[in-house]
Amino acid sequence: MEGRFVTFPMTLSRGGLAAALIAPLLAVVAAGQVGSGTPFAGKKITDDKVRAGWMLVDHIESGERYRRRILEAKELIGSEGLPAEFWDAALGANLAVVREHDASKRPALIVEQDRQAGLVTTALLDRLPPFSAVNNPNDDGSEVVLFWRNVPGAAQYDVERRKLADTSGRWRQLSSTAARGAWMKVSDRDLVTRGVEYAYRLKALDADGKVVAEFESNSVKPTGEWFHTRRIGLLALVLIISAAIIFYIRLARRGVALTIRKIAGLEAVDEAVGRATEMGKPILFVPGIQDMNDIQTVAGVIILGRVARVAATHDANLEVPTSKSLVMTASRETVQANYLDAGRPDAYDEKKVYYTTDEQFGYVAAVTGTMVREKPAACFYMGAFFAESLILAETGNMLGAIQVAGTAQPAQLPFFVAACDYTLIGEEFFAASAYLSGDPQQLGSLKGQDIGKLVAMIVLCFGVLVATAVAAFQGEHSWLGDVQDWLLNDLLDSKA
């Protein structure tokens, strides 16, 4: 629950947090400021927790994290809202949806879910102010979200805004929105200034344009947050893995010997280049079809450096057709540097690293044409590939070239496995640079990755255990459900 509404102090426990969420709202209800049906005319609610209720409505409406929201709504409204049977039905419908959703997405159940959510929303709406302005959490202070209950008879709403510091008292038109649903939500985004206090006015107009109701919101000051509270779990993971990588790099620097398993695809680089040299045929290196802002292209160009060094040593002819200008430039720099390091700067020919076209199949036609004409003895495919992977690899296969491929596109791996002699699968592709260089520092980074794998395994096993326990003991409503929810939505960042 931490981090859903960022204004809560981070030091609160889960129970305290729930109390912090519910208490102010109940206090407001008790004070008769909301739920009485009377207009909420600009009374300043000092606690901005009213927004929690609106956020709750928002989440229920969108069906997101439905079960938890139902439970929170139940807690918020309590027994005075609706009978226990209603909540059981709402939860039952939700659980059925959760079970069926992925398998068949049966519309009947979805409709059922929406109907129940609608009832909960209505129950909640009765206890919220008719018009509220809330600072959007976890943003840079550029958005205020406005919520209001639909006014009977209203066809359209005009929303106006003013700065509280503006002494002229002039309201500025913000938006005009047609009425729909039980509640309305409008975002005032990018037009508000961080740290400035605003008030909003809502005019409900009927079909003839006559004002039927008018509300003024609480004041709100958009604030930018220095930390995205729902990403704390992910940050912890990033820090652990980065620290492990840096630790092992430092360990390697101190001379500690690190051993890594043999990767057949990378062992084959020397063999492939050697074979091409013996046959007097060129080596073809294809760095994928993405630009330099793709990490796979970066990894591909790093491997190109190693291939270029071996090619320079063997005095082999290396050809690199690229589909992006920046990749051509980076590849040229890399190949030149490695020819220089190999002591063969004279053998470097920049014309061999050339641009063809940005178009995917135009590039395929250019590369396969080159392959058929020049019949390379070794082909390397290292980078991001899509539909062209099999066309390239099969062409190379028909020519009898030794082929080594590496990509982080899981969908393309089967094609490369089927058509190439060696395929670097996923992490092997990224490990290639360290493996080929033999540099102890870089090998240290591979060891650090292993710690990352260990963390992933622990989280995986823990998640499996929690999910199994939740299913076995029907613990959706208990703390186990909370843990499962946190793992799925906060740690894995699936809804952040």
Binding site: G141, S142, W226, V298, E333, T334, F415, F429, S433
Partner: protein
């Protein structure tokens, strides 16, 4: 210096991208880096185009084998640039336009013919009175309303005439946005889109480039068949398993697969042995598990490669060792 400056840029921009993900306060700062990359990539296109011309130009000049194809490549390249940049064959936009000014306020009004007799009005205005509602009039008729934002900018887009209401021409009509008034003038040359229907660019793109592209893509079907034939030869136990699984998945995707096992009950234990169920089970359980394992490895590999590049431990990508 040649290596240090790029390394510093890589480190600072990379760090910014990471920090930005966790610090919403930074707003759009990370997008600035992305925009700079796009600018860089756009400028680099000149390098690419230059390289293309140079490579093929040399081939033609020295009459290397296949130099005739290079003539076609260079010719098509230059022709498409000319068609696009000079809008060859592209007629001016249909409709009329007006630039309305008064003091510092400015409004551009376009009344474009969007169909046979339909017109759409587009407005872009700046330096107006902030947060004010403006009426847009064509002649004496109010055709739209817009409200300026807090900076005094306003925009509007709306259909104004449809079908029989539409006049033959809007040229010469008076248009006003609040106090700003002017007359609609016909569009000048080069205002039409380079890829409008009927332009040479459109013709060559849709009747030469797209068919060629689709032909290349269609070849994939034959390559899939030849690769599958080779991959599914049952030479050992593993290959046999692969063949069996592939056969099951293929059957599961076809009518024949469902037809073969339609006699099995729809519910209960035996329903699991329906080809479609078995196929879905293999895909959801085994395939998903394998893919996720690979994805975890890839994610860690990306983290490690990014960290090495950020910290300058691996500098080969900028041409340094």
């Amino acid at each position: 210096m040649k290596r240090t400056v790029p390394l510093l840029i890589v480190f600072s921009v990379g760090l910014l991208m990471v920090v930005h993900y966790f610090v919403p306060f930074l707003g759009d700062l990370a997008n600035v880096a992305v925009v700079h990359f796009n600018i860089l990539a756009a400028v680099a296109m000149i390098l690419g185009a230059g390289n293309l011309l140079f490579t093929h130009g040399e081939k033609i000049y020295k009459q290397h084998s296949g130099w005739g194809y290079s003539i076609i490549a260079v010719g098509c390249f230059l022709a498409m640039i000319a068609f696009g940049m000079f809008k060859i064959g592209a007629p001016p936009k249909q409709g009329a336009t007006a630039e309305l000014t008064s003091g510092a306020s400015i409004a551009m009004v376009d009344v474009e013919k969007s169909g046979k007799s339909d017109y759409a009005l587009k407005l872009r205005a700046g330096k107006l009175e902030p947060d004010t509602k403006y009426e847009i009039k064509l002649g004496d008729k109010v055709v739209a309303e817009t409200t300026s934002d807090y900076k005094g900018s306003a925009a509007a887009e709306t259909a104004i005439f449809t079908g029989s209401d539409a006049p033959d021409s809007v040229e010469g009509m008076t248009v006003s946005v609040g106090e700003l008034t002017g007359k609609l003038e016909p569009y000048g040359a080069f205002t039409g889109a380079y890829d409008d229907d009927g332009t040479p660019f459109w013709f060559f793109y849709y009747y030469a480039f797209v068919p060629l592209q689709q032909t290349t893509f269609a070849m994939l079907a034959f390559y899939v068949a030849s690769a599958a034939f080779r991959a599914f030869r049952a030479r050992n136990v593993e290959a046999g398993l692969l063949l069996g699984t592939a056969f099951l998945i293929l059957l599961g995707q076809t009518f024949a697969g469902n037809w073969l096992t339609q006699g099995l009950p729809k519910e209960g234990f035996w329903s699991f042995f329906q080809i479609s169920e078995l196929s879905a089970w293999v895909m959801i359980v085994f395939n998903t598990a394998g893919q996720r394992a690979i994805m975890i490895g890839i994610a860690l590999g990306i983290a490690s490669t990014s960290l090495k590049t950020l910290l300058g431990l691996d500098r080969s990508v900028i041409g340094a060792e």
